[in-house]
């Protein structure tokens, strides 16, 4: 079997498995693990937003939690304070994070490498502290809780995320749509231009690419991914909290993306999956699971700097050649 066919077969099998999760997983492991898988899907979008910037444009953002938080609070404030229904609140979360990414990006993408990493974390810290201070609106560290409005209403019947199978498919659909969008962007001329900037920005500018504008576009798209992730997480947890905007959340997303493999579409999903599974499996037995997370992160960067997907590709090359 050729390598391409094998990878396609694995992808199809993976897709089928993801669709079968609500029936398969409760029978094999218990229904708790369905929500763990849903959580992995949500967080993988945050890691994907890091990956879009670092893996495809060469900008290491250490502040993606800011746009995650804006997505989260767009939904939370929309429902709890403004009384919005489901879809407008979702829209508010995404618009808020994209707008924030645009404003922050206008300043941030003027800088590169170290300075870029630092200014993104600074921006996210400013809003983290701001959201801690405006407690009446944001609830600060405690966050705000809300009850979910129904997603669809057909006459008398209401369908909402309270139905856990529907919730799983809603999350799966949103995440799959985002990954598909990202795939399309990477394959497009825009994606090639971004990769040209990543590989050599001087050359890219010499062939006439507008580096600043392309970086800004990528930054806003990454803000969109993080915003969808945050909005989904707000729906999933029924609450929004400033604590998810701290730099540790951004840092974890960077670790997930790099350990999974940056510059690959599914690397962040793999990285997020591994770390959240380790957390869920180990933390029930031993409360110091972060020790294992730290060790894995260090081992991966030393021995497999291209991440798990890089390891996998190396293996595939050896098998198929």
């Amino acid at each position: 079997m050729s390598r391409r066919a094998l990878e396609r077969a694995i992808l199809v099998a993976f897709g089928v498995a993801m669709v079968a999760v609500p029936w398969l997983v409760p029978a094999l492991l218990g229904s708790f693990w369905v929500s763990v898988i849903a959580e992995i899907l949500i967080w993988s979008l945050l890691a994907a937003s890091v990956n879009l910037l670092f893996g495809y444009v060469g900008l290491l953002s250490f502040g993606q939690a800011l746009y995650f938080g804006f997505g989260m609070y767009g939904v939370g404030i929309g429902i709890a304070h403004l009384g919005l229904s489901f879809w407008p609140a979702f829209g508010l979360g995404i618009v808020a994070s994209v707008a924030m990414a645009l404003v922050a990006g206008i300043f941030a993408v003027r800088l590169t490498w170290h300075y870029f990493a630092i200014i993104t974390v600074v921006f996210s810290l400013i809003f983290y502290f701001l959201f801690l201070t405006i407690k009446p609106v944001t609830g600060g560290d405690d966050g705000i809780n809300f009850t979910l409005p129904p997603t669809f209403r057909f006459g008398q019947t209401e369908i909402g995320l309270a139905d856990s199978t529907f919730q799983y498919f809603f999350i799966l659909f949103c995440v799959a749509a985002c990954f598909w969008l990202m795939h399309r962007v990477i394959q497009s001329p825009l994606g090639k231009a971004l990769m040209a900037i990543r590989d050599n920005d001087v050359r890219a500018s010499l062939i006439g690419l507008n580096i600043y504008r392309l970086r800004l576009v990528a930054f806003v798209m990454a803000g969109f991914l993080a915003g969808v992730s945050g909005a989904l997480f707000a729906f999933f947890g029924r609450y929004s909290s400033a604590s998810y905007m701290f730099y540790h959340v951004s840092g974890e997303a960077v670790v997930w993306a790099i350990v999974g493999g940056t510059g690959t579409l599914f690397g962040p999903l793999v990285g997020t999956g591994i770390f959240i599974l380790v957390r869920e499996v180990v933390s029930t037995q031993w409360q110091h699971h972060l020790l294992i997370v730290g060790v894995i992160a260090i081992l991966i960067v030393i021995f497999a700097p291209k991440g798990f997907v890089g390891l996998w590709r190396g293996l595939m090359n050896r098998v198929t050649s």
Binding site: F54, I118, I258, L290, G294
Partner: protein, 285 residues
């Protein structure tokens, strides 16, 4: 007025301690090109060593010796095991040091527990100063920090290994060609960076709480000092640390501490965007 003076004084003392820690961050950054996310935890290790020293011997003064020594040893080991293998991949260093940060925090929690602890200062008197009763230990802490800063700059400019460090930072290839053992200089630099942070931790332990998450809040402040002072500009870093903490102290006298923190973060963004070489470029080299 008294409150303002007290907070300004506290800010000054705290700034000197931060300067010490930020200096460690700055030399590691300048020489090894590493954004060290674990640096706040190096500080935390210092506070833990101070606490452990007091628990075991009952003598606080030994901590001022134990913390930098343990910092030196741990720093050398970490550089050899974790940092050296990824020397040529700066982006990976963020992930590696983030992992390191998790390991240090969890190890501290595993060994010393999750409950924040308070340490009594070895000097408990207060002194009448400009009309306020001020803790003598804080003045002593400031003096210690100044002494350590001065000691470090003397070391950097008047010893052989200090000169090596400056040479490798300036131009690693030429330095290696001249026979300077750059590998050993990297180990030394990382070890000294850790030791400075750990010493800062021991000095600060009676002023703050001893907590396994103690480094999390310190790290952004140190980065602010390094950026506002100018990356790699060591005197600038020290000056910026004092300036920032002093400013935050004054703002805290009429507003919330988080407002003070936001103000310094905004100042830092402005510096990054307008003067990325730092506020003090041209004043010191």
């Amino acid at each position: 007025m008294e409150i303002l003076l007290l907070l300004a004084m506290n800010g000054l003392v705290w700034g000197l301690i931060i300067a010490l820690i930020a200096l460690g961050l700055s030399i590691i950054f300048g020489l090894l090109d590493i954004i060290n996310i674990a640096h706040g935890d190096f500080f935390m290790v210092g506070t833990m060593v101070a606490w452990a020293t007091v628990q075991m011997t009952g003598n606080f003064w030994l901590a001022f010796l134990a913390a930098p020594l343990i910092g030196l040893v741990l720093g050398a080991i970490i550089q050899r095991v974790v940092i050296q293998p990824i020397r040529n991949a700066a982006a990976l260093s963020i992930v590696a040091t983030f992992g390191l940060s998790m390991i240090l925090q969890e190890t501290a929690r595993l060994t010393f527990g999750a409950v924040p602890k308070r340490l009594l200062p070895p000097i408990e008197q207060t002194i009448r100063l400009f009309g306020i009763d001020y803790e003598v230990y804080r003045l002593f802490a400031a003096a210690l920090a100044i002494a350590a800063l001065a000691g470090f700059f003397l070391y950097l400019h008047h010893t052989k290994t200090g000169t090596w460090m400056r040479a490798v930072r300036h131009d690693p290839d030429t330095a290696i060609a001249m026979g300077i053992p750059a590998e050993r200089v990297y180990v030394l630099t990382f070890a000294i960076g850790f030791a400075l942070a750990a010493f800062g931790g021991a000095v600060a332990a009676p002023i703050t709480t001893v907590d396994f998450r103690g480094g999390v809040d310190i790290l952004p402040v140190c980065f602010m000092a390094v950026i506002i002072g100018g990356l790699g500009n060591l005197p600038g870093t020290a000056a910026a640390a004092v300036l920032l903490a002093f400013m935050e102290g004054i703002i805290q006298s009429f507003a919330d501490p988080t407002v003070a923190r936001i103000a310094s973060l905004v100042l830092m963004s402005a510096v990054l965007l307008v003067r990325p070489q730092g506020l003090f470029k041209g004043f010191a080299r």
